[in-house]
Amino acid sequence: MKQLNDSELVSLFKTGSNEAFEEIVMRYQADVYSYLLSITKSAEISSDILQDSFIRAFKKLKDYNDENKLKNWLFTLSRNMTMDYYRKNNKYLIPLETQDEDEASVIDYLSDNTPQPIEMAISNGISESVKKALEELSGEERELIYLKDSMTFKEIAEMQNKPIGTLLSKFNRALAKLKKILSETEPEVYNEYVQ
């Protein structure tokens, strides 16, 4: 099962193979979960949305026809589920004026109004300081940096329907911000990582 590519897994799933679905979940759960963490900043909410997303994927996958873009599809699905989650949740009610705007502004809104720290394992190699610095980025910038762990710029451009140039500019802006934050707040970390 592990040797099969995404396209083969989807085809197999359509023949009724539960194992194929299990492999899809195991292959992408960490990518999707980490991505959700970058948006929600909450392990609990990310875990809930992750479950809803894969349960929905299970129902929808039989009608899905673009087998080569499974990863893209799963990320888009989980992003939409995140929007739904917050729209349904009164606690994080989105003001009307942002509801019809670009989804990215919704992500910014959510991120900026959920001040709890990103809940990540300390042992995963990134220093506390870099984590803190990432939290000072806008939701959109942080989302892009996290997406880069799982996707190429080309894939993100396709998923978000944006030109690569726009994404690169955004990424570079985020880098410049990170550099500034680190050099100001954590000069020793900045030196360790960057110099």
């Binding site: 960490a30 963490l37 995963n124 880069k148 710029f153 880098l175 990170l178 990582y193």
Partner: protein
């Protein structure tokens, strides 16, 4: 396109050989890019990927591939059979107690059913439930 903008493509190895060569030429003469190179590499090397909690994954499987069908056919069959058997017992016990001397069956709705009859049926129902639903 502005060459400096392409730095992330270089760091994430998303350039063709030709693009890479062009960019390396640019890098040699661009102080800004050389400065940003390390920040970009630091971000790339600090992987943010982490696994979801095990119970979340278990829940996904419970609600998808391990989900029990709404109707359990063997249980439904047993229940149906038990119900039919109980009905037959009930009808026969009433009829056999109230057959008149001519041998004809009295119509069911004219049979005066005593408290005892009902409690007999009840106990038989219990017995069938015990046997068939065990």
């Amino acid at each position: 396109m502005n060459m400096c903008n392409n730095l992330p493509l270089y760091i994430y190895n998303e350039m063709s050989e030709k693009e890479k060569e062009l960019f390396e030429n640019h890098l040699a003469g661009c102080v800004q890019c050389r400065e940003n190179l390390k920040t970009c590499a630091a971000v790339k090397n600090a992987s943010h990927i982490q696994s979801a909690p095990l119970n979340a994954i278990e829940n996904i499987f419970d609600k998808t591939v391990r989900k029990q069908p709404f109707f359990n056919f063997s249980k439904t069959w047993k229940l149906g059979f038990a119900a039919a058997a109980c009905l037959m017992i009930a009808v026969f016990s009433v009829i056999s107690d109230h057959t008149d001397y001519s041998g004809a069956y009295t119509s069911y709705d004219k049979v005066p059913v005593s408290y005892e009859d009902i409690s007999n049926i009840d106990s038989e129902l219990d017995e069938f439930e015990r046997i068939f639903l065990a």
